[in-house]
C-alpha cells in the first residue's frame, strides 16, 4: 500500500461521498462505512494520523445520536406507525415556541437515522482518507503556487511529533524535581520558549539554505501515479456513475 499516490485515497473518498449523497440510501451509506473500516483496519500504517478514522467514527456516532434525539424530541411529526408517545412539553415563546415530545412514529425515527447514517458515512470516508494517507506525503504534492504555505505546513507537521516528545521530557523533569502534579504553566511555558527559539534557528537555517531566493521551485523525486492508483479511483468512479445514472 506504500506505493499509492497520496491523492488516491482522497479522490476515492470524495467520489464515494458523492455516490452516497446522490444515492441518498442508508444501505449504501452503511456499506461505505463498513468498507472504509475494513480498508483502514487492513491497510492504514501504524502512525499517529491512522487513528483519525476511529476518531471520525466516534464523532459520527455522536452526531448520529444527537440527530436522532433531536429529531425525535423536536422533530416535525411525520404521520405513520406510532411507536410511543411522549407528553408534550411546550417551551416558552421566546424559545421559538418549540414543543418537546409528542407522538413518535416509526417513520420519524427511521428518517432521522437515515439522514444520520449518511452524515456518518461522509465523516468516516473523510476520516479514512486521512488515515490512509501520510500528511507528509500529501504535502509533497501540494501545488507549487502555495509553496510558502506548504513549507509552513511541512514545518508544523514535522514539528508536531517532537513537541509531543518535549512535553513528555518536561513533564519528567518536573516529576524529578518532586513536582507530582506539574501545573499546566510549568509545562506549557518551557515548551513555548523551546519552540519559539527553535523557530528562530530554523528561520536562519532556511535563509542560509536558499529559501525564498528563486521564484520557481523544482521538485525532488516527483511522486508518480501508478496503475493501482487508477484502479482504486476507477472503481470509485464506477460506483459514483452507477448511483448517478442507474439509480435516477
Amino acid at each position: 500500500m506504500k506505493s499509492l499516490h497520496p491523492l488516491t485515497w482522497w479522490i476515492w473518498s470524495l467520489l464515494i461521498v458523492g455516490a452516497v449523497i446522490s444515492a441518498n440510501s442508508s444501505w449504501l451509506a452503511g456499506i461505505s462505512i463498513v468498507g472504509a473500516t475494513i480498508l483502514v483496519w487492513r491497510f492504514a500504517a501504524d502512525a499517529p494520523w491512522a487513528r483519525s478514522f476511529w476518531f471520525s467514527l466516534k464523532i459520527g456516532a455522536f452526531i448520529l445520536v444527537i440527530r436522532t434525539i433531536v429529531g425525535v424530541l423536536i422533530g416535525v411529526p411525520i404521520p405513520g406507525t406510532k411507536i410511543f408517545e411522549f407528553p408534550i412539553l411546550p417551551l416558552p415563546s421566546w424559545l421559538a415556541g418549540i414543543r418537546i415530545g409528542g407522538v413518535i412514529t416509526q417513520e420519524r425515527l427511521l428518517s432521522s437515522i437515515h439522514e444520520g447514517l449518511i452524515i456518518v458515512s461522509v465523516i468516516s470516508l473523510f476520516g479514512a482518507a486521512v488515515s490512509l494517507t501520510s500528511p507528509h506525503k500529501l504535502l509533497r504534492v501540494t501545488p507549487i503556487v502555495i509553496y510558502e504555505f506548504g513549507v509552513a505546513t511541512v514545518i508544523a507537521t514535522s514539528a508536531l511529533p517532537n513537541l509531543v516528545q518535549s512535553i513528555a521530557r518536561i513533564r519528567r523533569a518536573r516529576l524529578l524535581r518532586g513536582d507530582e502534579k506539574p501545573s499546566w504553566r510549568s509545562i506549557a511555558l518551557p515548551l513555548l520558549e523551546d519552540s519559539l527559539s527553535r523557530s528562530l534557528e530554523l528561520a536562519a537555517a532556511m535563509d542560509a539554505r536558499g529559501y525564498g531566493v528563486s521564484r520557481k521551485r523544482s521538485r525532488y523525486r516527483p511522486i508518480s501515479w501508478r496503475g493501482l492508483d487508477s484502479v482504486v479511483v476507477f472503481a470509485a468512479a464506477l460506483i459514483l456513475s452507477y448511483t448517478l445514472v442507474v439509480l435516477r
Binding site: L175, R177, G210
Partner: protein, 532 residues
C-alpha cells in the same frame, strides 16, 4: 577564498561593538578554528561569512567581506548557498522536513535545481557521509550524531566551497561528537573544502586546524598559527595547560608532541600521595536492582553503594542504562526486582517534597525546569517550593555567579549561567544527594571549571553524595572519586577514578595519555609530582 577587510559590526539594539576593525584572509582549503568565550561574537563572525549577519539580523556592518570574490553586501544569504554551507549547534533545530532525503533536497528545491541533478547530488552526499542506509528514515528517530551528519549533508549538497560550523558538537555526546569530527577531518583532507569552525572541544580539532582566530571579547580578534595563539589564550586544551604549567618552551598540540617534550618528567616525577576520601554514611544503595521496559531489559542486577562525601561518575555508551538507573534511583520507574534506597528511604516512597529534600536532580535540559519571567522570580518560586528561607536561593546563585542580574529572563542567560541557576534552585532545598544527567553539554571551559568547583564544594564541605552521568572524561578526571561503568544495563566496572580511567586507553584523559605509564590524570597531579 574568504576575505575580511577592516570589518566592524554593531547590532541595532546595542551600542556594543561586537567586532572591531577585523581583517584577515582565509585561503582555499584552509581549516580555521574560531575560539572565544561564550557571548564574545563567535557566532556573529561565522554568520558574517554567508551574510546572515546583517541581512537576517540587522545591524551596522563596516568594511567589506567577500567570499570567492562575491561581496556579502550585495547578495542575500540564500544566494550564497552554493558558496557557503552553514551548520548550527543543535542539528534538530534547523531541520525543515522530517525525512532524511527530503531534508537534503530542501535547499536545492528552493533554488530550482533540476530533478536529475538533485538526485545525483543527493546520492553523492548519502555516500560521502555514510547516510545511505538512513535515507528514508524520519529525522527525529536518528541519533544526535546522525542528525548532525544530515545537517552537514544538507549544507554540502549545494556544493559549497566553504563550510561554516558553529559548535557542531556542543549538543552531542562525545561518541556522536567523535563521529562528526572524523567526518569533518575527512572533508578537509579529501575535498580540500575551506572550513571555518567554532568548537569548544579544542583537543579534538586542534590537530587539523591550520590557523586560529581568537576573539577576545572586547571587539578585538587575533588570527595566527595555533601554537602562537594557544601559548597565551586562556581557552586551551588540557595538554596546552600542562605544557604551560611545566614551563615548556613550546606548546605541543598533540599527545605525541607533548610526550616527547616531557620524557624527563615522566622519569623524575615522584609518586604522589592521594588523600583518602573520608566517606560518610551510605547515601545511595541498590541491591540486585533490575528494570525492564515492556520486554526490553534496561537494568540488570545493579548492586552498588554510594556514600556521603563521594562524587561518583556513571559512565557508559548511550543506551547503556545510565538515565534509567538515575531515574529509578529517584523513584520514577517501578523496579522489576531488587531494591533501591536513598538515605534509607525506598526509592518508590520518594514523593513530592520528600523527593526534593532527599535528592536534587539536574535533568539533561536544565531549562525544562525554568518557567518564570526573571531569575529573581525563579529563585522566589524555588524558595517557596523548597520551603526554605526567602532569598536563600538567590543568595546561593549570587555566590556561584556574582555578576548575575536578577531582572534577566532565564532564557536570555548563557548556557553556563542557566545551569548555575538550575543548580541553585535544586541545591537550595539542601538535598542529601545530588544527581546530574550529562551536565557539561555545551559548556565552555570556564563554565565547566565553575561547575567542578561548585560540585566539589557541595560534596566535600557539606558532606553530600554526588552522582553524575557523563561522557566527559576530562570532567571525570578533575572531579570524580569513583567511576561506575555500565554496559547493557549491567555494572561492568566500579572503582576509583584512577584505576578505571587508566585501565582503558579509550577513556584516558589527555594528560594521562601524555604521562602514561605514570598514574597522573590532571595537570595538578603532574604539578604535585614535580614539586614533591
Amino acid at each position: 577564498m574568504i576575505n575580511f577587510s577592516r570589518v566592524s559590526l554593531v547590532y541595532p539594539t546595542s551600542t556594543k561593538t561586537i567586532l572591531e576593525d577585523l581583517s584577515f584572509e582565509i585561503a582555499e582549503g584552509e581549516m580555521v578554528l574560531v575560539i572565544g568565550s561564550t557571548g564574545t561574537g563567535k557566532s556573529s563572525l561565522l554568520r558574517l561569512i554567508n551574510g546572515l549577519v546583517p541581512h537576517h539580523t540587522g545591524g551596522i556592518l563596516a568594511g567589506d567581506i567577500t567570499v570567492d570574490g562575491v561581496s556579502t553586501q550585495l547578495v542575500r544569504p540564500g544566494e550564497l548557498a552554493h558558496l557557503v554551507g552553514i551548520v548550527g549547534q543543535n542539528p534538530a533545530q534547523g531541520f525543515v522536513t522530517d525525512i532524511v532525503e527530503e531534508e537534503l533536497a530542501f535547499g536545492m528545491e528552493a533554488l530550482n535545481i533540476a530533478p536529475d541533478v538533485m538526485r545525483k547530488r543527493v546520492e553523492e552526499i548519502l555516500d560521502l557521509l555514510a547516510l545511505a542506509h538512513l535515507r528514508n528514515r524520519a529525522i527525529s528517530t536518528l541519533s544526535g550524531g546522525e542528525q548532525q551528519r544530515v545537517a552537514i549533508g544538507s549544507a554540502l549538497v549545494m556544493n559549497p566551497k566553504v563550510l561554516v560550523l558553529d559548535e557542531p558538537t556542543s549538543a552531542l555526546d562525545p561518541i556522536a561528537a567523535e563521529e562528526v569530527l572524523s567526518i569533518l577531518h575527512r572533508l578537509v583532507h579529501d575535498l580540500s573544502l575551506t572550513v571555518v569552525i567554532a568548537e569548544h572541544r579544542l583537543e579534538r580539532v586542534i590537530g587539523f586546524a591550520d590557523r586560529i582566530i581568537h576573539i577576545a571579547g572586547d571587539g578585538s580578534a587575533e588570527i595566527n598559527l595555533p601554537e602562537a595563539i594557544l601559548k597565551r589564550s586562556d581557552i586551551a586544551p588540557p595538554i596546552v595547560h600542562l605544557a604551560r604549567a611545566l614551563g615548556l618552551s613550546d606548546v605541543g598540540l598533540s599527545v605525541r608532541d607533548v610526550r616527547r617534550m616531557t620524557e624527563e618528567i615522566r622519569i623524575s616525577g615522584k609518586d604522589i600521595q592521594r588523600d583518602a576520601i573520608s566517606l560518610g554514611e551510605i547515601a545511595i544503595s541498590t541491591n540486585k536492582l533490575s528494570l525492564a521496559y515492556s520486554e526490553k531489559k534496561a537494568l540488570n542486577s545493579v548492586s552498588t553503594q554510594i556514600y556521603s562525601g563521594e562524587i561518583v561518575a556513571l559512565m557508559g555508551r548511550n543506551g547503556a542504562g545510565k538515565s534509567s538507573l538515575l531515574t529509578t534511583l529517584v523513584g520514577i520507574n517501578k523496579l522489576s526486582s531488587g531494591s533501591s534506597e536513598i538515605c534509607g528511604i525506598k526509592s518508590g516512597d520518594l514523593m513530592g517534597l520528600v523527593r526534593r529534600e532527599t535528592v536534587g536532580f539536574i535533568p539533561q535540559e536544565p531549562s525544562d525546569l525554568l518557567y518564570a519571567q526573571s531569575v529573581e522570580s525563579e529563585c522566589k518560586q524555588a524558595d517557596k517550593d523548597n520551603q526554605s528561607i526567602a532569598g536563600s536561593t538567590f543568595a546561593l546563585l549570587k555566590r556561584i555567579v556574582p555578576s548575575i542580574n536578577p531582572e534577566t529572563h532565564p532564557r536570555d542567560l548563557s548556557e553556563g549561567q542557566r545551569l548555575a541557576l538550575v543548580l541553585a534552585i535544586v541545591i537550595s532545598a539542601q538535598p542529601k544527594v545530588l544527581i546530574l544527567d550529562e551536565p557539561t553539554r555545551g559548556l565552555d571551559y570556564q563554565s565547566k571549571a565553575l561547575l567542578i568547583s561548585l560540585l566539589k564544594n557541595f560534596a566535600k564541605e557539606l558532606n553530600r553524595a554526588v552522582l553524575i552521568a557523563t561522557h566527559d572524561v576530562e570532567l571525570v578526571a578533575e572531579l570524580c572519586d569513583r567511576v561506575i561503568f555500565l554496559a547493557e544495563g549491567e555494572v561492568v566496572a566500579d572503582g576509583p577514578t584512577l584505576d578505571i580511567l587508566l585501565s582503558s586507553p579509550a577513556f584516558a584523559p589527555q594528560v594521562a595519555k601524555v604521562m602514561s605509564p605514570r598514574p597522573w590524570l590532571t595537570v595538578s597531579d603532574v604539578m604535585r609530582a614535580v614539586a614533591e
